[in-house]
């Protein structure tokens, strides 16, 4: 189709003829064809596929605008283009691919050929259903490329044998090429039946040669029952069989265990029996019902006892009972051969003879031989140790006693004989220790330590015993050196204890880090606390009172875990000394330990926090008392604290203000916590300190304070209601006398100075302020009245001083001094009042 241009007119036309000079275009049914010179022609219109045959192009153009063209003309021209069979076939294909089915049906081709071409078209459009329909409609013979047409659909066809198998069988029967091979490749009885057919089809289908070879090898390996692993992860059974085959051929398949984990139990058992599955495999991939079974078969040590019961695995149950030395469990298994075997092994370990009816024959034979040999040893007739004993080191145990007593003959040199020799030396070393032959033990131990021992466990044990022998010989430095070498690497709790014992005798400070280690590494809280207490005992014996820094961490560590209330109280008290700041970061424990904890916190705050004062400390102690009562740990802390504040109050008057606050707070808020004597001593002391401290600021105690600190205690003492020894009563009275004297003296001095200053100020004003003379005189009289009040207060104090139950010169001196001061001031007041 081309575009025809004339002046302003542009129209499409169909080329219906051409020659060297140009073409003829059919414009429409009403127009005559027009000639267009070749030079005037543009490009063909892109609406029509130029790859089509001439008939195809004509038909496509005719469809473009059906009402415009001369249909008869175009029909005639198309028929002229389809005179040859090849042109018709070509056009038939074009008609099917473009959907011109009406034209296709009218084409002059046989029905079977049309069916074949429809089948080809269905294959090209990947429509196996349609393909099947057309192939089914073909005659039995002819059209030999049917297999080629179906081959790309082999996967779909193989999945639908009901549809396809009959027709392909017909092809095979009709001798259609490759139809028999196709049939075998699709539905073989076994893979081996399909092998040759598949390879033929692969060659026919154009598969690459190397791939054909690889598939040939795969098929062959299946025949040999040793298939390779598949490339595709989807082939689960193929992959399982590949891994299985490798496993039963002797390869360990732990890494590929996932591929066989879902196999039936008999196949898993094959792999386990072949040693292809080891304890290193990831058994987590097994289904639950097989997990316990497979572990029992591969690594029974990982099973719980309940698993063994569920499997009725009596052999392992009996073994475990033997290892645990659990005789009653073994008795319950007496019905099984394993139960009887292990029960008799236990008998043998306890000194009974072996029983041939209960032990396995091999075990009985060996044990009986050892018993026979031991009899020879006991009779001093033993010579060379039979080789068979050396092969099973567990039976050496039966020779422990003669080995410890040094009654076994030495063996020649060999790897196993050397191992036996080391064992014998170690046993003998223990024997020498028990015989208390220290020098011999040192010699043997040191000789053994110079040899290459089998394991660190054994060398540590020899070192521990050698160190003990050296220690008993008094060679404590040497003992320390030996046991220190054992502490390198892996060591036991017992070795640490032994080292700490030697260290505490050599130099107590050396024991501290060892016991600190023991606290850190002990397996339970009880042993941790014991180790810490032991360290503290050793510290108490040391001249240096400084708390060992190395114990701070263990101390805090023990306090952060459960321990007895006594231990907690002791350790918390020490932690206040050791590191009060870190103690404050500990969490409060549950239960009664919260009491000592709160006391330790209060004491730590008192030590490190400037704004935490004596009153705070007293109140926190009172709260602990109110919650827990006077428990032993509280009493111990409280008495220590009282003692500290007793000492703190016996300082220069006024300097014990803080201690006075403590005593006052406890007296006011929880008098139960102070016993009567303390109250009679420390309340007046506190009052005197307050009075002296106030005097520095020219202030005095108020009336209530006088009653609380002095008069009430004095009246109690005077009333003789306090039942105490005379010398204590005398001491208390003297203390009260002294305190009252100090307070009264300060009171008189501060009051007189203060009032005198007021009076003199008024007197000075009277000289120049005649206008207010009367008021000033009244104020002066008021000052004198106040002075009289103060003197009355002093008289009350003097009265208590006089009535105190003491007859001591120092009290009389105090009374006189107060009397004189009062009299002097009173005289002055009388004079001043007279002059007013």
């Amino acid at each position: 189709m081309f575009e025809y241009r004339r002046r302003l007119l542009r129209r499409k036309g169909i080329c219906i003829a051409e020659d060297d000079s140009g073409i003829q275009l059919h414009i429409s049914a009403g127009d005559s064809p027009v000639s267009v010179a070749a030079v005037d022609l543009g490009q063909p219109d892109s609406l029509i596929d130029v790859q089509l045959s001439p008939a195809g192009r004509l038909h496509a153009a005719a469809l473009w605008d059906v009402n415009r063209w001369d249909k008869a003309l175009l029909q005639r021209l198309r028929d002229e283009a389809l005179t040859s069979i090849s042109a018709r076939r070509h056009f038939a294909n074009e008609a099917l691919s473009h959907g011109w089915y009406d034209v296709f049906d009218e084409l002059d081709l046989t029905p079977s050929e049309k069916t074949w071409r429809r089948a080809c078209e269905a294959a090209a459009k990947t429509n196996p259903g349609l393909l099947f329909a057309h192939l089914s409609a073909l005659p039995a013979r002819g059209y030999s490329d049917r297999v080629g047409l179906a081959l790309p659909f082999i996967t779909q066809i193989s999945a639908d044998p009901a549809t396809w198998q009959p027709i392909i069988s017909t092809w095979a029967n009709a001798g259609i090429p490759l139809a028999s091979e196709f049939l075998k490749a699709l539905w073989p009885a076994r893979l081996s039946d399909a092998k040759e057919a598949f390879l033929s089809l692969a060659r026919f289908g154009g598969m690459a040669e190397d791939r054909i070879a690889e598939w040939g090898a795969v098929f062959a390996s299946f025949e040999e029952r040793l298939p390779p692993e598949p490339a595709s992860l989807d082939c689960l059974a193929w992959r399982s069989v590949a891994v299985y085959s490798q496993g039963v051929s002797g390869k360990v398949v732990d890494k590929d265990f996932a591929a066989v984990s879902l196999l039936p139990r008999p196949l898993l058992d094959d792999l386990i029996d072949a040693g292809a599955i080891t304890p290193l495999a990831d058994f987590g991939q097994l289904p639950a019902q097989e997990l316990v079974y497979v572990i029992a078969r591969c690594d029974p040590s990982r099973l719980q006892d309940s698993d063994l019961v569920s499997l009725s695995h009596s052999a392992e149950i009996a073994r475990r009972a033997f290892v645990d030395r659990d005789r009653s469990a073994l008795e319950r298994l007496s019905d099984s051969a394993s139960g009887r075997h292990f029960a008799n092994l236990l008998d043998v370990l306890e000194g009974l003879p072996p029983d041939p009816d209960r032990l396995s024959p091999e075990a009985y034979s060996l044990i009986q031989a050892v018993f026979d040999y031991r009899t020879l040893v006991d009779a001093n007739e033993a010579k060379e140790l039979p080789e068979e004993f050396l092969e099973d080191p567990s039976v050496w145990y039966l020779l422990s006693v003669p080995a410890r007593e040094g009654r076994l003959p030495r063996l020649g040199s060999s790897l196993v004989a050397d191992r036996f020799g080391s064992w014998m030396d170690q046993q003998r070393l223990l024997g020498l220790i028990w015989e208390q032959r220290w020098s011999d033990a040192v010699d043997l131990g040191q000789a053994v330590l110079e040899t290459e021992l089998e394991s660190e466990v054994y060398s540590d044990e020899v070192a521990s015993m050698t160190a003990y022998a050296l220690y008993q010989c008094g060679r404590i430095s040497d003992a320390m050196e030996v046991i220190n070498s054992a502490l390198e690497g892996i060591y036991t709790e017992a070795l640490l204890v032994n080292a700490s014992i030697i260290a505490s005798d050599l130099e107590p400070s050396l024991a501290m880090p060892l016991l600190a280690r023991l606290v850190r590494e002990a397996p339970n809280e009880q042993l941790q606390a014991v180790a810490l207490r032991r360290a503290l005992e050793i510290w108490n014996q040391m001249p240096d009172p400084e708390f060992p820094q190395v114990l701070v961490e263990p101390l805090l560590s023990v306090l952060s875990r459960p321990c007895s209330i006594d231990d907690y109280a002791l350790f918390a008290r020490l932690a206040v000394l050791a590191d009060p700041k870190r103690l404050l970061s500990l969490s409060e424990p549950a239960g009664e330990a919260a009491g000592p904890y709160r006391i330790a916190v209060a004491r730590s705050k008192f030590r490190v926090q400037n704004d935490y004062l004596q009153a705070d400390l007293a109140r926190d102690m009172i709260r602990v008392y109110e919650q827990f009562g006077r428990m032993n740990w509280f009493e111990s802390e409280w008495q220590a604290m009282l003692e500290a504040f007793r000492n703190a109050i016996f300082v220069d008057w006024g300097e014990g203000y803080g201690a006075a606050v403590f005593w006052d707070t406890v007296f006011v808020e929880c008098p139960d916590l102070i016993d009567p004597i303390d109250r009679l001593i420390f309340l007046p002391q506190a009052g005197a300190h307050f009075a002296a401290a106030f005097a520095k600021n020219s202030t005095v105690l108020n009336e209530d304070a006088w009653r609380k600190f002095f008069y009430a205690p004095a009246e109690e003492l005077i009333s003789t209601s306090v039942k105490v020894d005379d010398h204590i009563r005398n001491y208390v009275a003297l203390n009260l006398s002294k305190s009252l004297f100090i307070a009264t003296g300060n009171f008189l001095v501060v009051s007189r100075n203060s009032l005198a200053e007021n009076y003199n100020t008024l007197l000075g004003r009277l000289r120049w302020d005649s206008e207010h003379r009367f008021g000033i005189i009244q104020s002066m009289r008021a000052v004198l009245d106040t002075s009289n009040d103060r003197l009355a207060q002093a008289d009350r104090s003097l009265d208590r001083l006089r009535r105190l139950p003491i007859d001591e010169e120092e009290n009389r001196v105090r009374i006189r001094e107060i009397e004189e001061t009062i009299a002097d001031w009173r005289k002055e007041i009388v004079n001043l009042r007279t002059n007013l």
Binding site: G148, L151, I154, T155, A185, L191, F198, A202, G206, M207, A208, V218, F219, F222, P227, C235, A237, W238, A242, Y244, L263, P264, R265, P266, L267, D269, D270, Y293, R297, P300, H313, S338, L345, L349, A363, D392, S394, Y397, Q426, L430, W434, D460, E461, S464, M465, Y468, Q472, G474, R475, I476, T492, A494, L495, V497, S500, I501, D505, L515, L527, V530
Partner: protein, 135 residues
């Protein structure tokens, strides 16, 4: 204490010749064994006194030996005095014997399934690589 002077620290277990932490029953047996004939031995009375002290310690004082950190542990590691492994007296875990029967039927089934998968894979590759014939 300095080097050269023998220690006076007594160890009841060593005196009795029994392992650290032994039971009272074992201590009694050891006492009887060691005390036998001591009356006629030199220093017999002194040694008997030691043994009596040791027995009393084990029976009455050391109720929780592990907590007695002032007593040297002999032996320090009891594993060294247990039967060595492997062997009759130190048996390794017993593996369960096979509980299933012959595997031939299951194996055959597995092979059939595997062959099916192999053939399917081969067919898939064949189908993908095959071109339609020319029309």
């Amino acid at each position: 204490m300095s080097d050269g002077a023998p220690t006076t620290r007594r160890n009841p277990y060593v005196l009795l010749g029994i392992p650290f932490g032994s039971t009272r029953e074992l201590a009694s047996i050891a006492f009887a064994t060691r005390a036998r004939g001591l009356r006629r031995a030199a220093n017999g009375a002194e040694r008997l006194k030691d043994l009596t002290w040791a027995l009393n310690q084990v029976e009455e004082v050391l109720r929780e030996p592990r907590m007695a950190l002032e007593i040297y542990r002999v032996p320090a590691d009891f594993r060294c005095y247990e039967p060595l492994s492997p062997g009759i007296f130190s048996p390794t875990p017993e593996r369960l014997v096979r509980q299933s029967g012959p595997s031939a039927p299951e194996l055959e089934q597995l092979f059939v399934a595997a062959e099916d998968e192999a053939l399917a894979a081969a067919r898939s590759e064949l189908g993908n690589s095959a071109a339609l014939p020319q029309r």
